[in-house]
């Protein structure tokens, strides 16, 4: 299941086409729409919630809501991606408001979920995992608003205007949130992350 195509115009046209087919009752179109956006929505939710199970639940809720309310989507107001991201961010907020305490997953505890490619050497895999852990700790240390801004900007490449749409705030606020998150992450990652990143580069 891949993410959306690289060409934005082509993506927009085909997405609108898929939506029309979905509204016409085409079940295959629903599957294609899900396949196009599921990975991105999952990464977004995981980046915000930092928990696999909760992220899966939020992705499921977001798609169910989006598909049930597909008639409400107005292409003149926002792109489908922005609309979907808005739904996912809203549901993620509900989740991390409910669960303020940090939770450690069992898979993480037993180190079962190593995301590094299998082709990498063990040292590289370890370094990659350490870098990811450092990034996760740094993201967890950010406030929810700053985390949303930085994940949307760097994880998904949204512009400040799109971030403002998704976060429901003025573009200047989105800009300042990205800047504050940037500064905060720089401080957080300078200590632990620097050595890890150097290690990564040396490998």
């Amino acid at each position: 299941m891949g993410e959306q195509p690289d060409n934005p115009l082509e993506s927009l046209n085909s997405t609108n086409d898929l939506i029309q087919r979905c509204l016409g009752g085409d079940q295959v179109a629903y599957t294609q729409l899900y396949e196009r956006y599921a990975a991105g929505i999952y990464r977004l939710c995981y980046g915000l919630i930092l928990n696999t199970l909760d992220a899966e639940d939020v992705v499921q809720e977001s798609f169910v809501y989006a598909f049930k309310n597909l008639r409400r989507f107005d292409p003149a107001k926002a792109s489908f991606k922005t609309w979907l991201y808005t739904i996912a961010v809203s549901r993620s907020r509900n989740t991390y408001r409910r669960k303020r305490l940090p939770q450690v997953e069992l898979s993480q505890l037993f180190q079962l979920n190593v995301a590094a490619p299998r082709s990498q050497a063990p040292e590289a895999r370890l370094a990659h995992r350490n870098a990811e852990d450092a990034l996760m700790r740094a993201l967890a240390d950010l406030s929810p608003n700053l985390r949303e801004a930085v994940v949307l900007r760097y994880g998904h490449g949204l512009t400040y205007r799109e971030i403002a749409e998704v976060m429901n705030c003025p573009p200047k606020t989105a800009e300042s949130r990205v800047r504050l998150a940037h500064d905060r992450l720089r401080k957080l990652l300078t200590g632990s992350g620097r050595a890890i990143l150097d290690e990564l580069l040396s490998i």
Partner: protein, 191 residues
């Protein structure tokens, strides 16, 4: 602080505030050119640019792959989504129920508003319809008889000037009013 130092301080503050947007390509042309000029001429601005660019590069490299899902995960979620969509919506039922509930609530409200009006007026009429004392009733019946006789006389007779005069009811009203008698004070009370 010298003038040159103040100038560099101003440039640095200007750059620091806009550096992330500059690196992200989000500044307008004028601000972008200005930041670029400061980065070229001010050492502190250049150092700031290098620091921000490094973290930008790291974030841009790491975050897109952060939390990338496995295919099995997405398949599992899709199965759950399909099951949710196929299941009958639980939110369809409460709507008629809510309508009935609001209807009942409105009925109760209307009843609560009407209740004091209905029972309040009955109590006033009951208070007004208290039976008169025997002496009063005698006076009233005698007056009614005389008034009826007078009215018949007036109807039968030719309308005179006196008959056209408004009837003075002061005496009759006095018959209904209680005698205005001041309470007598007993010598004990005055003392």
């Amino acid at each position: 602080m010298t003038v040159v130092g103040a100038m560099f301080g101003f440039k640095y503050q200007y750059c620091k505030k806009r550096m992330v947007a500059y690196i992200n390509g989000e500044l307008d042309d004028r601000a972008r050119r200005r930041v670029a000029r400061y980065v070229d001429t001010c050492p502190r601005c250049y150092a700031e640019y290098q620091r921000q660019r490094e973290i930008h590069r790291n974030l841009a490299a790491d975050l897109p792959s952060f939390g990338r899902p496995q295919a099995a995960q997405l398949d599992r979620i899709w199965t759950a989504v399909k099951a949710d969509l196929a299941a009958p919506s639980a939110r369809r039922h409460p709507q008629p129920y809510l309508r009935v509930r609001y209807g009942v609530l409105m009925m109760l409200l209307i009843t609560a508003m009407i209740f004091p009006l209905v029972f309040g007026s009955r109590s006033i009429s009951q208070a007004a319809a208290t039976p008169p004392t025997p002496s009063e009733s005698r006076t009233v019946s005698a007056m009614l008889v005389t008034e009826a006789v007078a009215t018949t006389d007036v109807i039968l007779a030719e309308p005179t000037e006196q008959a056209m005069q408004p009837i003075d009811l002061s005496d009759e009203t006095q018959a209904f009013s209680t005698p205005d008698v001041a309470p007598q004070r007993t010598p004990e009370a005055t003392r």
